[in-house]
Symmetry: D2
Subunit: 407 residues, 4 copies
């Protein structure tokens, strides 16, 4: 067995194990419910990530392939039209069968088959690349497991905690400073030979005007000033679509702020907590991020500005809830909150998706979405990089999405 | 301990136990999901029926009453505005907490407290009447547990069975005959001193024209003739609101008929089965029942006609799926399918609901609903009677609702 | 030419002329707009009533019939599936062509052809009956012209008046008294040889318990007491479906009450007017009528009770806005506001609709609607009778619908 | 009177007159109806453009200003929150009052007052700039008048023509060629001292990779090949949001293609016409443009590429319906169809909207929209330029939107 194949098997086992670990604090009931069409049941995540390996790797490569369960091909297909029919997204929460235990058995069976396949083809670079893609895919779902379960639990008037441990302390916050950049012709997109998704390529040139980025994320305290100054009552601060959501009552504070009248609290994966003014504001939409920036006389960065600035930033890792910025310089680029940019999600010049169904991974979503950069406290270790392009519709709030100002 | 109090305690234990028994074939996941706003999770049924005893009996009577869990007052309130706030009906499926185990503990605790209360007040007739109401209420939810879980499982492409045992055989069907009634002044409504809901009173006179009822329910085979004759394509057969549902694709066959192209099957609590032409058609809307009757040159009975005819009918009990009519005379009045009537659900002359929140039990639903009479294969033993008034909107289909013709 | 044929021609000319007269105060723009799917443009009413004569009378009887315009068969078909395709109801307001002038020409051409046909077949009783039906149909649309234009103008912030003349004065109101009836076996339904719609037949017996009716309609003043006593804030007064509409803000006062803060006004066909407390409350839903009755410890009458009581009532005629009751005894049965009953709209025992498309006139609407009895200030002279059954969904408010109490 | 002031007065009279001219073929009924919330009644356009001059110019400048009608401030406010309340957009078609004649009188009165103001302040550059903005604004509404009335008339099964004159002939089409561009650092945005909207500034640098543009627009014939090759049935060609619209039946051909079974026709402002395969395809969404491009192995241009290429293109003017490309070289950049780009509508680096309500003109729409470049056959003479940025949501089709390929 070669070293790289060994490394891959080890990574495979590790990533797969971590997914199960994330589901451990949850009951089978918690894992089955779906709180909104955007979110999926945890059990569905466990199965879909397995389906990905089975469908895109085992099926075309395993000699005499037989599906673990023929029905799963449809049940756990997310959005790949090239694979065929899909169970309707909004009805994932009705799949009480297969049970959680059966899905866990599905995972174990596919894991065993995949490790066997890997062992049998130590020099198959295409296979290795697909396994790598599957693991990166699984890491994306690890983050979604956390954000989806947070949303589900937030819909319960009991506000149950995902984990019982207390929220780790977070110190005071550094004052906000502006970091200046000269701009000019910049190279944007993935470089080097590490893994990257297709949407990060090709690397290409962009011309940047001079700009400045805030040294850290906007805090709850700063955002509260905006709220208390009437930010949600002044249409001149808002994009038109955002104001529509304010006017109809959809937006009136960050998603998980809870106002009990006498005091403000925030729902976290550790349960309901006093709102910590030093921590970054999280779970805001692009509309709120943009309105806040306008109110401060600033703006949101473009994704090229952000990437240019992030080139040398430390790939710090998070801890289930955003922490206050404790250092000066360009801080909190990774590991706390994804950062809304002003850039719509579009193909880079010369972008070409992969052939076949797997080409649906990224390209077909390149409309009506906005790019978020960085990573969050829910992003798995090793998954972040400066060229990473996350993307969501402008109104999405259930990710750990925060605000970094630019000007 | 007096005999009647002993009888009530025994009945209480028996009914409460049967509810748990109905949930036994189901996993915690099955018990948590909600397939549509009309249906509720099984766990919610388990908790709500308990809430009924706690809120309407223990709370006002138990010395030093303390709620089992203060949050449950809101979580498990169905529709009693007089009790206060309610968890939104459409979000019952998001309540992964309390867990099924916690709800079972809630049941056990309330059961113990209620039996203690009963023992302490052996001669309290009002208490006894409320417990009786609570048990009748729980029996209604026993039927809903079966119809709601059937709907949930039917939404799963795997079509899981509620019970693994095979569907009991059902013989050939008796030919349909017409039973004639003279009409005249009839007494309608509950008589005698057994239990009845408030909506069955007061007993009063109605004048009936001469009429005839079909001797048995319409069968799958007869209904299939209607389908194959183009019944769903001819607007002249349909009430206007019904045709709208046909035209937009909502109605095109009974709810649980599954058409695989080459053969027709029916989803049952025993899983997917070949469509048995001798059994009664079930899970049709009032619109379909009415269109079918019109196609046959007949009509649906009024509830007064039905009750008048049912006076001496045997209170047969069902077995989870409707069986073919095996006897002549007026058959299948009870125990197979609820029977749509042409009567809208309205108060009887002089109807007065109970005082307080419990008065919301029936009266406030007396609009935009139609009466079904009889009982179904899912109705608990001892719950049916000739004066019983079940009611649903004209488009509802997830109950075991069938068709008895009149003319 | 025989006397009866002459009488019919005269009636035809008179009714047709009155429809045009109703449209006279309106511009072509007023006649084209549609304020909601329930209402139709005035131009559409002008054309549809003409279509009725052309389609059901000229087409099968006129030698060498050729349609005035082949496209009109679809454009102006209201709901007759038996006639074929229909222009979508909600898009009637987009028919800027044919123009109002072209529709007026359509009317004149069909009028001429119909009078010629009538003259040529003086003894054709079936023809005469169809013309009579067409005229009754047109009178129904005359009332709708007034209620639909009132709704349209009410949606305009300028609150334009339909007619510029001042609202005729209306005196003080008689005190409310209760008129007692013994009940017993009553004959209900159309009797005699005057015109009646099919839904008023067959005449049949019903058994009535003793009852009492209020001597007059509920006034604005009385209804205002309900509003100010918090009637719209107390769920115990409401049917469940009605409370849903209160809770979501749909119902909070009669449809055309305008609250400027300092004073209450009411939109009328004479424009915005001070709310006259002596006049009957109008434009309420069945839900509001029922909640008001419950609040007063009363109820709504059944349609049989109403008809039994109305037998000898004067067929008074109205004047575009309800007037205060100025006489004692059973007053305001006709000519002010339609009166909601507790009876759902259902076929009388033995009801049979006419054959062919014209049988769709009434029967197919006999579900999910409630009967209103009497007539309103917008009902044409000669159109009302005691057996008349008007019907609308429980939430409809744009007709002149008011409240008569029973107990 | 100075020459520039004279020129402005003349331009004012000319533009205002042309708007009336566009409404001339229409009846008052045509001018009142609203076919969808995206479109407005023609009468509303006539009034709103007048409101713009009254509100933004007369109100702050005219001595002793009194509004023409105080109610118009709300009725004809489109989307300026800074001005105050707005009549709901979807209810503009219900404004049968003021009448068309009254709106024409409003126009004449404001015209007179504005010309008087202009004459009184010959050297007021700010006034001149605002009048210029108002005229450009009015020209935008001139195009909307044509596209909105086209949409309205298309909803009428009679397919009435806007103008009775025959569709001018259009010759055969030039073969498609590819025009190559080197790319590099390009200056993008408005230059020079002619009028431009705020969203065209500041002029700034962008780096362009080498690219090629198609020499002309995609034709109906070419697009028909896509349709007949199953383009609307292959999800791999579509952006995910676009495929959703295909799957639910919203998209299945260009908006105004009419398929009678035996032959294809196209609704035009000249009425229904045989589909001319040589003319440009028009009225497609971004989704369709993008899917077509993908099917051809091409892509849509970015707005920067388009602008760079268009720099020297002839500002040809159109004639109410797109014409076939009759010349070689880079043709049809202007005057036929707006051209979807791959660029989302976003602020240029350093963009700053004007202060006050007029700053709402463009900036607040910079989300969830895509840029179209060029101009169309409905764009007024003199209104087009290479830096012009039109924008609509990706699904909008009622503009004359076509396809230019890039690669």
């Amino acid at each position: 067995m070669g070293a790289s194949e060994h490394r891959l098997s080890t990574a495979f086992a590790h990533v797969r194990q971590r997914t199960l670990h994330l589901a451990e604090p949850l009951t089978a009931e918690d894992c089955c419910a779906q709180s909104m069409p955007d979110a999926s049941p945890i059990k569905w995540h466990l199965a879909h990530t397995t389906w990905f390996f089975e469908t895109f790797i085992l099926e075309p490569r395993e000699p005499g392939f037989r599906p673990h369960d023929a029905a799963f091909r449809v049940l756990f297909n997310s959005y790949y039209n090239g694979v065929g029919a899909k169970h309707p997204r909004a009805q994932r929460g009705l799949l009480t069968r297969p049970t959680l235990a059966e899905v866990q058995a599905y995972r174990a069976a596919v894991d065993a088959r995949l490790l066997r396949l890997l062992a049998s083809r130590p020099d198959d670079a295409e296979l290795a690349a697909l396994v790598e893609l599957g693991l990166q895919h699984e890491q994306q779902h690890q983050e979604l497991i956390l954000t989806d379960v947070k949303h589900l639990l937030s819909r319960n008037p009991l506000y149950p905690a995902y984990i019982d441990s207390p929220l780790p302390a977070s110190g005071p916050v550094e004052p906000l400073a502006w970091i200046e950049f000269d701009g000019g012709l910049a190279e944007i997109g993935h470089a080097g030979d590490g893994f990257a998704f297709d949407n990060e390529s090709p690397r290409h040139r962009q011309y940047l005007q001079p700009f400045a980025l805030a040294s850290r994320l906007v805090t709850n305290g700063e955002y509260l000033e905006f709220v208390e100054a009437g930010g949600y009552r002044d249409p001149s601060l808002w994009l038109s679509d955002g104001w529509d959501l304010v006017a109809n009552g959809t937006l009136d504070a960050p998603l998980y702020w809870v106002d009990d009248g006498d005091r403000r609290r925030e729902f976290t994966l550790h349960g309901l907590q006093a709102l910590d003014l030093a921590r970054p504001v999280a779970h805001v939409s692009l509309y709120e991020a943009d309105a806040y920036a306008r109110w401060r006389g600033a703006r949101l960065p473009t994704e090229a500005e952000w990437e240019f600035a992030a080139r040398d930033a430390a790939l710090t890792c998070g801890d289930l809830h955003p922490r206050a910025a404790g250092s000066s310089g360009l801080a909190q680029m990774f590991g706390e909150c994804w950062q809304w940019t002003a850039s719509s999600y579009a193909p880079y010049p010369g972008f070409a998706p992969a052939a076949g169904a797997i080409g649906e991974y990224n390209g077909k979503f390149m409309v009506n979405q906005y790019v978020l950069r960085g990573s969050s406290c829910a992003t798995p270790h090793g998954h972040a990089r400066a060229s990473y392009r996350n993307f969501f519709p402008a109104g999405a709030r259930w990710q750990f999405s925060g605000i970094r100002l630019a000007r």
